[in-house]
Amino acid sequence: MQTFTQTMLPTLLAGISAGGQYALIALGYTMVYGILRLINFAHGDIFTVAGFVMFYAITVMPVYLAIPFTIFVTVLLGFTVERLAYKPLRSAPRMSVMISAIGVSYLLQNLMWYITGGQPQQYPVIPWISDKVVILGQETKRVTVITPILTVVLILILLLLIKRTKIGLAMRAASRDFETARLMGVKINGVISMTFVIGSFLAAVGSFLFFSNYSTVSPTVGTMPGLKAFVAAVFGGIGSIPGAVVGGFIIGICENIIRALGYSTFSDAFTFALLILVLCLKPTGLFGEKLEEKV
């Protein structure tokens, strides 16, 4: 037991915490994919922008204002990116939209370099969640414990939203069949915007948790977590909300176990190898739906 709390527990805690963050980002990917069939490559950068906004906001306003302000700006950014870069390409081939997403990611990164000068910035300390707590004799930040709980709560709310509300119904309809949903009076553009708004909101929340834990914001810091969150989304079956969450936690925990075993060189490679393996065995992921092309 002693060895467990000393060696395994911190690893598991770190894994669950990382998994929760991946899950929150992965939801943004999976929801957008569910409706637009688009890998939103810019999502990881939106997450990073949220980190920078918080960094700058805290210098001019108190925390209780800075948090909603950051969420607002991030959501606005997600909304704007969709309107400017994806909406004009609605009828274009999927590849064009994906390329546009890569372009947006490139632009956001370069903009952040330009504005911040490339200095890694110290993320502000958010009271309470950055406090230290002791769990089974291991000291850790409160955010580590909160992350999985908050993730699960947010996802339950999200599921309720999708299952019980009218906009949720519209989303489900749009993800099934774009054209039919439009014919049935669903305002497709509104639904898509809503998807981006929710995705960006979750990215902003994810950024609070992530940066409280890892404390430094730099323009490219979101790339890897973004990519891994995407892997999590694919792993769980892209388009599926529970899939994204399960995928996030599995990848977070696996990674940390591998690192604890001393194979940290291969922790990223493992994530991608796992992805390729899953895609080959079950191309639609763990919870994904099968789509057959009609002949």
């Binding site: 000393q6 060696t7 911190p10 690893t11 770190a14 990382a18 370099w113 000068g117 490339g118 200095q119 890694p120 110290q122 230290k132 000291e139 850790t140 930040k141 992530f210 834990n213 890892y214 404390s215 430094t216 730099s218 490219t220 810091v221 790339t223 890897m224 977590p225 990674e255 940390n256 690192r259 604890a260 001393g262 940290s264 060189t265 922790s267 990223d268």
Partner: protein, 396 residues
């Protein structure tokens, strides 16, 4: 529409060609004074952008201190030409070529050994000498006759830091944490580990994959290995992630020269972390060093752009001091050569002696300087400032 667009592009291309042809290495400035150009080959974006900017600041400050040089009895204006190598080897080659195009006589830089090595053949081809400021990898000067440098080398730095671990912390076990894929980090880790072997310190090594931001796993591993110190020769980005985690585990951190940076101060302040690192410069070491600090700080504070390039504080980074020294060495060499010809300046560099703010500079046949003492600094986490710990050398 499309044709118009294509036409427009072609036009832009031609115009810019013409424009580039126009400004060919003019040797006379607007006010009629003769000009000699010194190229600054540094990253201002990419992974090392922040560090590169600080090195540039040191050079620019030196330029403001010594803006002219006398060659053949005539006064020449020294113009610095900065170029961004984006911390990437493939971008670095064309950036270096850009300097050659601009007609520079000497090149200073770069922060980051990889880009310096990538550019070495370009400078050699053009017979332009380059003076590295903080690139500590042996490969920079080894076999590159046109590359010199004013800092010490990684084998020496790594060994000294291992001695520090022994002397200060009486370390039995050291956890060596390097960045996967980064030659600076892994190289320094390697030399540290070798010396540890000689000193009887047990080494546990681990690597951080590029882009990973979760350090808790590594700190846990260090704790489980019973490490007395963590040796982490990493970039400042990784450093600030690591410091916080290491503080909560209560293990002292030792690092290389990259940690002499305001970012580390910010990260370590109030965290209670025990941070030590090697550096090139200590303001208390000599009068010249002290003067440099006060002069540089007032220069920074007079210009908000410069201050923001320094990360918004007036904390003096060692790389700025090295940049200053590299510039001064270049000026000495130009004086000694008494010529604007870069090949002549290269020959003069070999015999230049100069006492700089980071110590004495005299190049050996590889183009390296012989420095046998390294400054060790620590972080006073309560006051939020660096303090000098000691001057560390090798034991026996």
């Amino acid at each position: 529409m499309k044709k118009l667009f294509a036409l427009l592009l072609a036009l832009v291309m031609t115009l810019s060609l013409a424009a580039c042809g126009g400004d060919s290495g003019s040797e006379v400035s607007d006010d009629g004074a003769k000009v000699i150009k010194i190229g600054i080959y540094e990253p201002s974006s990419g992974a090392n952008g922040a560090g590169g900017k600080k090195e540039v600041l040191g050079i620019e400050y030196a330029n403001s201190v010594t803006p002219t040089v006398t060659i053949g009895g005539e006064e020449y204006q020294v113009e610095v030409v900065p170029v961004d190598n984006q911390s990437e080897n493939d971008k670095g080659v064309s950036a270096a070529q850009q300097l050659v195009s601009a007609g520079v006589a000497v090149v200073l830089g770069s922060y980051g050994s990889g880009v310096s090595m990538a550019a070495a053949p370009v400078f050699e081809e053009a017979s332009i000498p380059a003076i590295g400021c903080s690139c500590t990898n042996p490969g920079v000067t080894l076999g590159n006759p046109y590359y010199f440098r004013v800092c010490y080398l990684d084998p020496f730095q790594g060994s000294v830091l291992a001695n520090l671990a022994k002397d200060e912390f009486d370390a039995k076990v050291a956890y060596v944490f390097t960045e996967l894929g980064d030659d600076y980090s892994e190289g320094l880790g390697e030399y540290f580990s070798q010396e540890c072997g000689r000193l009887g310190i047990q080494v546990v090594a681990d690597k951080n994959p590029a882009g990973n931001t979760d350090m808790s796993g590594f700190v846990n591993a260090a704790k489980n290995a019973g490490a007395d110190v963590i040796f982490a020769p990493t970039s400042t980005t990784v450093a600030s992630l690591l410091i916080d985690q290491a503080a909560s585990a209560g293990i002292p951190l030792i690092a290389g020269d990259t940690w002499d940076d305001a970012v580390i101060l910010q990260a370590a302040s109030k965290s209670g972390a025990d941070v030590y690192f090697s550096t090139f410069y200590d303001e208390g070491a000599s009068q010249a060093a002290a003067d440099f600090m006060s002069g540089f700080q007032s220069w920074l504070n007079a210009n908000s752009d410069k201050l923001s390039n320094n990360g918004g504080t007036d904390t003096v980074s060692a790389v700025s001091a090295l940049g200053y020294d590299a510039y001064m060495v270049a000026i000495e060499a130009i004086k000694a050569a008494d010529s604007t010809d870069s090949a002549t300046i290269k020959d003069a560099l070999a015999s230049v002696t100069y006492t700089g703010v980071t110590g004495d500079v005299k190049f050996d046949e590889e183009g390296d300087v012989d420095k046998n003492i390294i400054f060790i600094k620590g972080v006073d986490t309560d006051k939020g400032e660096f303090y000098s710990v000691k001057e560390q050398g090798l034991n026996g």
